[in-house]
Structure formats: C-alpha cells, structure tokens
C-alpha cells in the first residue's frame, strides 16, 4: 500500500510582523496572539515563483531524509496560485528544475486548504492503480500573490510556505478511512475577485468549518470503527488559532490539536503537512487529518502507522 514516508517543509526567509500590522486594522496584540494566533506571516520574495518554493521543499526532503529523487514515478502539485498564467502546469516546471525522470506522471491539483488531504487519496489511488512505488506530493500556494494588504479580513491570516511528501510503497503512515465533501452553494465565500485580490466571507467560512468538520470527523471515525480516544492527535487545517480551538472543542479533541502556524501563518494546502512535519511522532499509531476551505470543501482522513514499522 502507498503511504507517507517523509514530509519536509519550506518557509521563505521574509516575514511580516503581524502584531505591528494589526495596529493598522485597529486590532490589538491580544487578538493577534490569542485569536488569530499568528505573530509572524511568512512572505516569499517578489521574484520567488510558486515553482521555486515547491523546488525548495523537495530539496529539503532530499537533504533531511536522503530521498533518492531518481526513483520518482509521480509528481503531484497542489496549488491555486501557479507560476505565470497557469500554463504549463507548475508541476512541469518543478519536474524540470529537479531533473526528475521523464517516465513520471506529472500534474497539478487545483484545491485550497483541503488540497493536501484530498491529494493524498488521489495520489495513493493513482499510484496503486499503476503499480508505482515512489511519488512526490508537493503543496505550494503563496497567497501573498493575491492578498490585498489593506483587507482586514485576509491580510492578518495568510503566510507563504510549501511542503513535500515522499509517498512510497510500504510507507510509514498508511492512508486509511477518509471523507470528502463540498458545500458548493457557498463557493463564492472564498474567491479571487475581479480585482485579482482574495475575498473571504469570514463568517461563512467559520460557520462552514464549525458545522461540516465535526460531521466529517465523525463519519471517518465511524468508518474506521474508532473513537476520539483511539487517536493520538488530530491535525486540523491551521486557519487561525480560533478555528482550531473551536473545532477541537466541537470534536472533543481538546489537547490533541496542535497549532503550529504561530510564526508563519495560514499556508493554505501546506498547513496540514507543515504541522505534520513539526509534530508527527513515530510512536503514535493513529492520527486524523482534516483540511477545509476553498469550495467550500473539506477532506478528512485517518493515518495509521504501518504495523510492519513498529
């Protein structure tokens, strides 16, 4: 079975002092610290492309875990802010920059904050159907490209980051029961407006997450015949500290939902893998992942430690 072997994260060097920025929005440091939860927002350089961030994440995977990239049979990139105008697909640029084998399936997936969790299942199914043994799942969606710095609803939330996950046959973490869905009647609650800037209806997104995520988590636990007590940790999309805390309470997982985005912000589809890269412990047996956002879509899945790797 295809599973997760390694995860690495890349953060650009630049950052914004969010508490300082908040003063311009009549928000105090307490609000930033305890509600938004993000004291710094990472920022790519103006010249840095989405593909540059993706490449850096993969190079970190190679440096940190000694991954042999010549064995890559599949490269999947999750982004909604691709290089240039989106053609060619950014994964093609990444493939070239990394000098990966030509016998490699290479495609982008257009999803936001639910993207990593959804792409795990897509990549797993695709690789298994073609008897592939090794693949890369990369996330890189720099929202600084579309943030209006004067928009109070979005400017204090998003940071730039990228992740790279090495998927392999017999990987350490098996991708188990999952649940996917969309509340598409509110597809416009998170969208790029005609002016090129991100628009977010914060109340709609909050209400969506607070109602749909607990139901999705419940369905996955039922499918897997597990209870919350059976999970070592629940990795929720890091939309803000407030949404993570609210969801933790609603799903009965208080104390099990790490918040890792304090120094870089909401990195969209990279937020779950970046949190995993920081907090996933080898002694754990079962963890849950949940991404939610653009669409308004959600994706939840169970990761189970490969019993052969105890």
């Amino acid at each position: 079975m295809i599973g997760i072997q390694y995860i690495s994260a890349y953060l650009p060097k630049g950052s914004i002092d969010n508490a300082l920025q908040a003063k311009g929005f009549d928000a105090d440091e307490d609000f930033i610290r305890h509600k938004i939860g993000m004291l710094q927002l990472s920022r790519k350089a103006d010249t840095e492309q989405t593909s540059d961030m993706a490449v850096q994440a993969v190079l970190k995977l190679q440096q940190e875990h000694g991954v042999d990239l010549s064995r890559t049979e599949c490269l999947v990139l999750v982004t909604q802010n691709p290089d240039g105008h989106g053609l060619p697909h950014t994964s093609a640029v990444v493939h070239h920059r990394l000098n990966l084998p030509s016998a490699c399936a290479v495609f982008d997936i257009s999803l936001g904050c639910s993207g990593y969790v959804q792409a795990l299942s897509v990549a797993k199914a695709f690789m298994q159907s073609q008897n592939m043994r090794h693949g890369l799942l990369v996330t890189a969606d720099p929202y600084s490209k579309i943030i209006n710095p004067l928009d109070r609803d979005t400017a204090m939330l998003f940071g730039d980051g990228a992740s790279a996950t090495w998927l392999s046959e017999d990987g350490d973490w098996q991708i188990g029961a999952a649940d996917f869905g969309i509340q598409s009647q509110q597809y416009d609650a998170l969208q790029t407006s005609a002016d090129g800037y991100l628009f977010m209806n914060g109340r709609a997104v909050f209400t969506f997450a607070a109602t749909q995520v607990p139901a999705s988590v419940k369905r996955v636990l039922e499918k897997a015949q597990l209870g919350m007590a059976d999970l070592d940790q629940v990795f929720l999309h890091q939309g803000s500290r407030y949404i993570v805390d609210t969801l933790a309470k609603r799903i009965g997982a208080e104390g099990k939902t790490p918040f890792a985005a304090t120094t870089y912000g909401n990195t969209v589809s990279s937020s779950v893998p970046m949190t995993l890269a920081q907090h996933l412990q080898p002694q754990w047996r079962k963890v849950l992942l949940c991404g939610f956002g653009v669409g308004l879509s959600w994706a939840t899945c169970l990761l189970e430690k490969n019993n052969d790797h105890s």
Partner: protein, 76 residues
Amino acid sequence: MITADDIRVLIQENVMGVDAMALGEDDNFKQAGIDSLDQINVLLAIEEKHGYKIPDEDVKLCKSIRSTLDYLATQK
C-alpha cells in the same frame, strides 16, 4: 422564545474570559470583550440551539443582548 439568560449561557459556553452571567442586557458585546470572532461563534450557537437563521447582513444588528433579542423577535 429565546431569553437574555439563554444568550448569556451561550456566551458562557463559547467565549473565554467573559463573565457572561454578569453581562447587562445593554452592554455592548465588543466593549465587554466579545470580539468579532466570538460574536460569530455566539450567533452560530443561537442558530443551532434555537433554530434561527441570521443572515450576514443582520449580524451588525446584534451588538448586545437586548439588540440581539429585539432582532430575533422579528425573525420567528
């Protein structure tokens, strides 16, 4: 019919650091420490527990317990 105490209970359950039971009916939510995120959460709790539907454009009408009750009285 939802009451002031019903709203206080929902504030108590959903907002950290606010003594909801001591909240006066005319106390402004923001001045009492209930910020915009808390307000959205409390309104969701009102919708879920008491069956109201509060459209986005009406959120601004719910700035205190009394104004929230007055608004809700027009909705059911």
